[in-house]
């Protein structure tokens, strides 16, 4: 049990000093099965499970209970069941190890499944080899903290998500470690929630999959080596801050995929070694500030369907291409970014280059039309063509231009 777990316990004990009863499962004097203890307990009680392995199929908790593992008891689903099903209100689950939930293409079997619940706190559990790890539907006031979740990456179809939220409100997903699932964290119809400081690594599809979820915030997360990076789609008013998007490689892999996102803020994130840092489609009124893009194939790919976005004070360095776009009409504002490819001068000594920078090179337009020409990358011919195009722009979008490129990187 972690220190924080202990405090939660202590506070709970103080909240219900008289009425709360402790039931112990396992050990010398405890109940033989968890099901028995859960059956006996009433609202506000605590069920404490001692170390050991428990194979009791599906366990249902539908009253406000504190369900605690001491010495990391193992709940084994034997590849058949949902292991824990929570429903109702105010349930705490801590300190367990859950393994081998059932796998089904029909039902979303999970290690911990929460349905129709208000107030659920899932902390400090280890979940391994499960279909879904933590599955929440129609829930609110949620805390999922400090769980370590490790799936077995099979194909996208028979692997579930790590932390899955559907139709939820007021969730805090914090400091979890998720790997080997389909999507590390999945949000659909979730509002007023925060995703903080999680690490989502090596998941088959997205590190974070985020849809139809407004007024949310995610920050300080690390998304590493996921099949297709992070997808944020069909949402409004999302704040994405101080996240790291690393090593998302593939022809449909992005650090961050934005599809139909409006009025959102992307700030102080790191995009490193991604095939595409940010891919934007149908997104508008975004503020993209103080981010660092380095060593990506394309730092940003902005489709023509995007407008009114502000891309300012970002650092672009060591990317193969800075910006790519599929159209010529560009209605986004690039201002005061640092571009390492900029070779202008600053005679006015105001820290900003005196000639504008065009972040879309002619060659990137060529590659856009014919991806095989990527084989000519860094050839002398290409650098000649790019230089010529810079002198007399003809096929690169005229308005995609940073008129005040910074001479030195922004300190973030």
């Amino acid at each position: 049990m972690t220190a924080r777990g202990f405090w939660v316990l202590a506070m709970l004990a103080m909240a219900f000093p008289l009425s709360a009863v402790q039931y112990i499962v396992g050990g010398v004097q405890g109940h033989a099965t968890i099901a028995e203890a859960l059956h006996l307990a009433s609202a506000g009680d605590t069920v404490m499970v001692m170390g050991g392995t428990y194979r009791e199929g599906n366990l249902l908790i539908d009253k406000p209970l504190t369900f605690i593992g001491v010495g990391r008891p193992l709940l084994d689903g034997e590849n058949v069941h949902d292991i824990l099903t929570l429903s109702g209100r105010n349930i705490i689950v801590m300190g367990f190890r859950l393994e081998n939930s059932g796998i089904s293409a029909m039902n979303d079997l999970a290690a911990i499944k929460c349905i129709d619940i208000t107030g659920v706190h899932i902390e400090d559990n280890q979940i391994a080899r499960s279909h879904f790890a933590i599955h929440l539907a129609n829930a609110s006031d949620i805390v999922v903290r400090n769980n370590s979740i490790e799936g077995v990456p099979r194909s996208e179809h028979n692997t579930g998500n790590g932390i899955h939220l559907w139709k939820c409100k007021s969730a805090l997903i914090e400091e979890n470690d998720i790997s080997g699932h389909r999507d590390g964290i999945y949000f659909e119809f979730v509002s007023d929630s925060r995703i903080r400081c999680n690490t989502s690594r090596g998941n088959l599809r997205y590190g974070l999959h985020f849809m139809f979820s407004n007024d949310d915030r995610y920050e300080g997360n690390r998304f590493i080596e996921n099949g297709a990076g992070v997808a944020v789609m069909y949402s409004r008013k999302v704040t994405m801050e101080q996240n790291e998007f690393l090593h998302n490689w593939g022809n449909a892999a992005y650090g961050l995929l934005l599809k139909d996102i409006t009025d959102s803020y992307i700030g102080q994130n790191y995009f490193v070694h991604n095939t595409v840092g940010i891919f934007m489609e149908g997104s508008s009124r975004m503020q993209i500030l103080w981010n660092s893009f380095s060593k990506n194939g394309w730092a940003m790919r902005i489709q023509a369907s995007c407008n009114d976005n502000r891309i300012s004070l970002n650092n672009f360095s060591g990317n193969t291409f800075d910006i790519a776009t599929n159209g010529t009409l560009v209605l986004n504002d690039f201002d005061r970014n640092y571009w390492d490819k900029y070779d202008g001068y600053d005679r006015t000594r105001d820290g900003m280059g005196d000639v504008p920078y065009r972040p879309v090179s002619m060659y990137s337009m060529v590659v856009e039309r014919n991806p095989f020409t990527l084989i000519l990358l860094r050839s002398i011919l290409i650098s000649f063509l790019d230089k010529a195009e810079k002198a007399i722009p003809s096929i690169t979008p005229e308005l995609l231009i940073d008129r005040r490129p910074l001479m030195k990187p922004v300190r973030v």
Binding site: W249, G250, N251, A253, H273, N274, T275, V276, K295, N296, G297, W298, S317, G318, N319, T320, F321, D340, V366, R369, N370, P371, F372, T373, L374, I375, L376, L377, R378, S379, I380, L381, I382, S383, F384
Partner: protein, 258 residues
Amino acid sequence: MTAMWTLTRYIFSDIIRNKVIVLYAGFQLLAALLLFNLEENPDKALLSLLNIELIVIPLISMIFSTIHYYNSYEFIEMLLAQPLGRRQVFLSEFLACALSLVLAFVVGLGIPVLVHFQDLLAFNFLLTGTLLTFACTAIAFCAAVLARDKARGIGIVLLLWFYFALVYDGIVLMILFTFSDYPLERLTLLLTALNPIDLTRVSMMLRMDVSALMGYTGALFKEFFGSYRGILYTGGILLLWTILPLIMSLRIFRNKDL
């Protein structure tokens, strides 16, 4: 064999005292020092050095080798009047010439790069630069054996350089656009193999621009670029670019009237 190595050693120690070789090494060293000192980001400096590798190395290697061959004509004659085989003499001249150019490259660019980078990228830079020097020397010797007089030999070599460094990529670009409706994976790989400069460039690209290359749609490419096979492939073909021109020039040289 011992005669060949002895001869190589003597010719090598002559060439490395040559003003052009010393200047060539000095130029590279100067460029490397300037770039690494002026550029805050060593990655960017390496990119500029890559351009030197792709333009200057082939140009100097080819022209120097051609001139060296013609200037050594009488000496080669004198050597062939000794009990020495033509292959021994020719290979000694080739080896001595290629090795001194490689030495200039290693001193001029190699060491500064190794000071700033100790990774696979630096290793690849050195390896391909060395192999490219060998290939260009072999091509130049082949041209020199084919053309009887010096002016024509240098002319051929300059044209070859221009072709490999610039024209070829233009042709590739045209081919890729003309046949853009067809699957071009294999063709593209084949096309890079037919130009030693492109091969060098691609093998460096494999290390520097992995992120972008992983965006390639073709499965073949991904497998190829994502693994060590890419390095083996480029290294192997560059070696072929040395061996094949050498075999061809040896065939001509063996029956040539001097």
